[in-house]
Amino acid sequence: MPEPLREVIGKVCPLEADDVDTDQIFPAQFLKVIERRGLERYLFYGLRHDEKGNVHGRFVLDRAAFRGARILVAGKNFGIGSSRENAVWALADFGIRCVIASSFGDIFYNNASKNGLLCVRLPNQKVIDLRERAASADLTLSVDLASQTISDGKTTLAFEVEPYIKERLLKGMDDVAFTLENYEAEISEYERRIPRFVIPGNPSSP
């Protein structure tokens, strides 16, 4: 069950790239790892490592100025592509609690909401502004989910979030328990009405 998430306060790391797909965030060769923890070492693996597999330190998350960042500001279409939830787990394991972008891949966005990672959509120009500020000087932001605002201590930006995702993140809700506690009877009733032809398991002869 994820921890409740009310606000994220932390250093901002700028990732100046559009279309950051989940193959970049978590390369396919590590999908065979069946554990769910300790995945930070595979995060952005191809971008962070040299040919010998050593961290070269030039990738933005590894630079001294952004060490310990909790908020990642990217560009358009962050997290598109493969449905691998490992991309979310690796970001969370690395310490990222919030990603700000102008748009997100749908599956990544849903996966993040199940794992206490807050995805914030802002208009593209606002995303670019934040990224440029973070790149030129230390930037710490406070992202408050309850009031749906981002603050740098002086100015405040509002953002939209789907009510059902907000509620789940704020409460750290366990979706399975929530569904079974509230909807088990409806689901069973629906299953009684499903026509027989929908259920496979009566294979015709081979």
Binding site: E16, A17, D18, D19, D21, D23, Q24, P27, A28, Q29, L31, K32, V33, I34, G46, E51, G75, K76, N77, I80, G81, S82, S83, R84, E85, V88, S103, F104, G105, D106, I107, N110, N111, K114, N115, I128, E162, Y164, D175, V176, T179, L180, Y183, E184, I187, E191, P195, R196, F197, V198, P200, G201, N202, P203, S204, P206
Partner: protein, 420 residues
């Protein structure tokens, strides 16, 4: 079992220890919880998005989920098919339901008739090129129009497969008689009295004429060129007579940066003609283009020819059933005699998590769906194309205009085969 399986000799032990462990974990889970598993040795083993439709497990009107983004494929049969993550998968197993925000709807209308040598793969690449990688975010894309109706079910599967590359939540096509015929008689298809009941329900499913959509896009296919991706996402695609674009002509600083980075990764210079790009690898396979009709189209190009010197070319059927049916038609001999490798089923070189992958700097014409950095193996360079373009590229060692390529008549493809 598709992403991680080797596609070589199935009588040998799986050499990769992590793959072997992952396969065992799945086998044990299936046995423990009473699931049917089409495992490594099953005659029905294959890529999930190939075997679902071919075994009659994917049928119109159902909601279907799979922990893979290309689940949109199944929408070609009129199923609402959703690619989901692990947590959502757990929720489906535990509750048989899924929390879903009602998606917006986008109608993509395909009109006109494709020229000779241009395929449904070229159609979906050109759609993504126009709408962009995020163009359909938050939407279910419904493909319609007379060109969609004219496509075979397998041609449609290629289109819905790649809708996710335009950001779509999923894709769907109104089912029709071609779909019902495709399903009829397959291993898990409704049979007996159930068949009539199923047909009655399925015929009530198609979208109403004049239905309302949140957005629309129209495409005329009559002048479409064969398409080749040149960059590091599927929207970075050009017609075969075009050249690599220049960052100096990009509309914004961000676009110029993306373009520069893509060209650096791909090792391509602005202005290079698509037909001048030399290749060392050709991959015909994946959930996009490894069904029997895809392999047949490729074989129509390959028959009687030889793979170009220095090119490694692979054919990886989408399922063991596709492989068996292709062998019955003699397609395996056509490919092997031309110098292709003929392998067992799996995701293979579409995704660098099994033994089939590119080495750094290798350049591949691939019938798969993603040209992301490192997708086919660290440092590998991917060009997404149709099966006939991949076949022609294998013979020439570079891309050619497939509108000029002669295709052997299907009847002459395999004398003595099933259709003889």
């Amino acid at each position: 079992m598709d992403h991680n399986v080797p596609t070589g000799d199935r009588s040998l032990a799986v050499a990769d220890e992590m793959s072997s462990r992952q396969m065992k974990a799945l086998t044990n889970n299936a046995a423990q919880f009473g699931f049917t598993l089409f495992d490594y040795f099953s005659p029905y083993q294959g890529i999930s998005h190939v075997i679902g439709p071919e075994l009659g497990l994917t049928i119109p009107g159902i909601t279907l989920t799979c922990g893979d983004s290309h689940t949109s494929t199944h929408g070609a049969l009129g199923a609402l098919a959703l690619g989901i993550g692990s947590s959502e998968g757990e929720h489906v197993f535990a509750t048989q339901s899924l929390w879903l925000k009602k998606p917006r709807e986008m109608a993509v209308t395909l009109r006109g008739r494709l020229p000779h040598g241009v395929t449904s793969k070229d159609v979906i690449l050109s759609v993504i090129r126009r709408i962009g990688t995020g163009g359909a975010i938050g939407h279910v894309v419904e493909f319609g129009g007379e060109a969609t109706s004219n496509f075979s079910v397998e041609e449609r599967l290629t289109i819905t497969n790649m809708a996710i590359e335009g950001g779509a939540r999923t894709a769907i096509i109104s089912p029709d008689e071609k779909v019902y015929e495709y399903i009829r008689g397959s291993r898990f298809a409704p049979s007996g009295e159930d068949w009539g009941e199923a047909l009655e329900q399925w015929r009530s499913l198609p979208s109403d004429p004049g239905a309302d959509y949140d957005s629309r896009a129209d495409f005329n296919l009559s002048d479409l060129e064969p398409q080749v991706s040149w960059g590091t996402n599927p929207a970075m695609t050009a017609g075969v007579t075009e050249s690599i674009p220049s960052p100096s002509e990009a509309p914004s600083k961000e676009d110029a940066l993306s373009l520069e980075r893509a060209l650096k990764y791909m090792g391509l210079a602005p202005g290079t003609r698509i037909t001048d790009i030399p290749l060392d690898t050709v991959f015909i396979g994946s959930c996009t283009n490894a069904r029997l009709s895809d392999l047949t189209e490729a074989a129509r190009v390959v028959k009687g020819n030889r793979v170009s010197r220095g090119v490694r070319a692979l054919v990886v059927p989408g399922s063991q059933l596709v492989k068996k049916n292709a062998e019955a038609l003699g397609l395996d001999r056509i490919f092997i005699e031309a110098g292709f490798e003929w392998r067992n089923s799996g995701c293979s070189m579409c995704i660098g998590m099994n033994e089939d992958k590119l080495s750094p700097g290798e350049r591949c014409a691939s019938t798969s769906n993603r040209n992301f950095e490192n997708r086919q193996g660290p440092g590998g360079r991917t060009h997404l194309v149709s099966p006939i373009m991949a076949a022609a590229a294998a013979l020439h060692g570079r891309f050619v205009d497939t509108r000029d390529v002669e295709l052997v008549n299907p009847e002459e493809l395999a004398p003595g085969g099933l259709n003889a």
